[in-house]
Symmetry: C2
């Protein structure tokens, strides 16, 4: 949302965070699809014509299903733009980290190899990173121990690390400190670049925030994004 | 469930694991209550007369609400039996760990001090422990780093550690290794002791398992509990 706002003008955004049922990345495909459809139907009530699925797990598991169920919406996902950035930048070997569901889908590996057969793609599910971020542990002993556990085996093996989850950019500082030689790509910026000029109207952007639970993470999240003038008070809704 | 089976005979159990919406411990009280009521209403359809809330967060946040909404059920929770064990065994100072919701409720501290004003009670929310257990990281570098992060400040300050979450007993080995001088109390065994003889019929116990999602954690869980003859194949249900 933050990245999208930077490249949009005069647009009206309806943002829904399903905080009552996070994390999606540990759930089955059936459940991710059901939840994603419920979210999409909620947003559709506002008369939207475009849906941006800003979650890697839902992008990996539910976008085809959403397009089939809601053919009237133009639906974007976060995977394709990140893949296109990676195949432009990677030298020889790419590491992809994500939730168990995203990594289990194999979508990043498949899409990268479809575009560049010369690249080697390594994948790893890193399920502790979302809880780390949600607890605000963005640096320190635990964070370093967890990151080393997941990523040290790739030292000397990859040149580019793809952060395949919308939570992971918050750990980018810690990752760069521990693994300074890697190129790090996240999915938010490539998506915003991809959608640059798409929402190009008159005046200020308007943002309506909805969440399904007022969790502690939401409180921390709001405390940080309130700095951004475009964001308003959220509404808590039940799906 | 495993502990209850050991102290029951000829009883029929309907077990529901809300795997599609875990973890409860990071959610608001309103959401925990709503989810707990949905679970209870699902189980009530089977004609149960007793409900055991085998989750510390739901016990801390939703039991009074469930008793008000479902006065026809006899409802047990996991907190009181654990508190009674602790006040029998603790010497001077007790540390309580649990989810953010359980610890935020203050229920353990309140109930312990109600019974023994001489005890000092320290509390700490340890939200990474559920994800650690769900990923099967029960020992090793990460587990030790996380446990040290949360618990090292209590070395020399407490004599008894209360594991206020049903996931934590799986980390008991790692905790005892790092902090060998502490008495460790979990909530499953005291609850089973409390309910000993309550379900005392003829023949074998029967267990019907229901889950709301077939997650990877569920697969691992089933692989371990299948060893127990009383447990059958689970059914996946939507609430």
């Amino acid at each position: 949302m933050a990245e999208l706002l930077k490249v949009s003008r005069g647009a009206e955004f309806f943002y829904l965070g399903d905080t009552a049922r996070v994390p999606y990345g540990i759930r089955s495909t059936e459940t991710v699809r059901r939840y994603a459809l419920e979210c999409a139907l909620f947003l559709k009530e506002f008369g939207i014509d475009t849906l941006v699925v800003a979650c890697n797990t839902a992008s990996a598991r539910a976008v085809d299903y959403l397009r089939e169920k809601l053919p009237e919406l133009e639906i974007f996902e976060v995977i394709t733009p990140a893949v296109e950035r990676v195949v432009r930048e990677a030298t020889a070997s790419v590491g992809v980290i994500g939730t168990p569901s995203t990594v289990g889908s194999g979508v990043y590996k498949r899409e990268i190899l479809k575009r560049r057969k010369d690249l080697e793609v390594l994948q790893r599910a890193t399920p502790l990173l979302v809880p780390l971020v949600e607890e605000g542990l963005l640096e320190g002993e635990i964070t370093d121990a967890v990151l080393r556990h997941y990523l040290s085996p790739w030292v000397g093996r990859i040149d580019t690390l793809l952060l395949g989850c919308t939570h992971y950019p918050l750990l980018e500082g810690a990752i760069r400190k521990l693994f300074p030689s890697w190129r790090v790509v996240n999915s938010a910026k490539p998506l915003a670049e991809f959608l640059k000029g798409k929402f190009n109207g008159e005046g200020e952007n308007r943002v309506h925030l909805f969440f399904t639970d007022r969790s502690a993470f939401l409180e921390r999240f709001l405390a940080s994004v309130r700095l951004n003038g475009a964001l308003k008070e959220p509404e808590i809704v039940s799906l």
